[in-house]
């Protein structure tokens, strides 16, 4: 009989720093769902995933221009395009009818 948790530890080793999409994919979309007292519901999380995709897609141009932002800065940097991205996101969300309750400036 082996001791499983010891075995786990022995083979676990150190892991490389994880890419953010791999973390988000697991942490936001997987894992057991237990309704806490204060839990963002599943719908919100799906919505969030859509938002993330939109946000990251918006940064695609920067990468095409040769800015390897993903490697150097694992997530979208708040850059000079920040407001533009937010605005674009808001417009897209409104068009898709998936955003509610956000104050309009």
């Amino acid at each position: 009989m082996t001791h499983p948790s010891e075995t786990t530890q022995r083979f676990l080793g150190r892991r490389e720093p994880s890419q953010l999409p791999d973390v988000l994919e697991r942490v936001l979309d997987k894992g057991i769902v237990i309704a806490g007292d204060i839990q963002v519901n599943l719908l919100d999380i799906e919505l969030l995933t859509i938002k993330l995709r939109l946000l990251i897609a918006s940064a695609d141009k920067a990468r095409e221009m040769g800015i390897d932002w993903w490697e150097n800065d694992p997530f979208l940097k708040r850059g000079r395009n920040g407001n533009e991205l937010e605005d674009r996101l808001r417009r897209l969300e409104q068009a898709a009818g998936i955003e509610q309750g956000r104050d309009e400036g």
Partner: protein, 254 residues
Amino acid sequence: MIASETETAWYVYGVVPAHVDPVALAGAEGVGAERVELVSNGGVAAIVGRVPLDEFGEEPLRRNLERRDWLEATARAHDRVLAEALGHAPLVPLRFGTVYRSEQGVRDMLDERAAELSEAIERLRGRIELGVKAFLVEAQEDATPPPSSGRDYLLRKQEARAAASSVQAEAFESVRALHERLESLADDARVNPPQPPELSGRREPMLLNGAYLVGAERRPAFAAAVDECRDDRLELVVTGPWPPYNFVEREDPS
């Protein structure tokens, strides 16, 4: 305790057997940079952190989720706590953002779900999740003379498309073989939708986004199998060990 009851919330990361030594969690810093602790009941224990309600309450949480920097930091912290615990105990990871208003709320949840959680813990004991992503490597374009005519140009385009689609078909076949091989070494496997380039951060198409539940002692064999399947058309990226995020949601939440 300095914080009053109303200001504190209990963030739950995951569930481990009740006998786990809390010292095992000493190194992990939580989503609110808090010290992580265990709340036990019914033979299982929740890995929890006391977090401020003004950050993790319903409204603030909703707002914070819109902040990319906050989301990145907390999502990584959630994963870090679980990855740390994984080295010491079998665990059931919870989805991000499970928060209780009181420690009693956590205890009640454990009591209610003890049987199901214990069963999941036993199923996952000694196992880790490994991720394998496969990218189609674009062939280097040969330097060819410029097309001599419009027809020549169109012909070449057609040939290039045909070549690309046969390369892709071969690559898909390799990926399927790879997945089958890895699945045979794993206790369970999931194929997730490939991340689009916007998410993967890479131009090359992702052909496989797999997750494999592997006995920890099989990790070297698994890595060797991945290495054997490498070829110049496919770039394979192994991630993890992860807590078994992909292998806990069995029942229908509806």
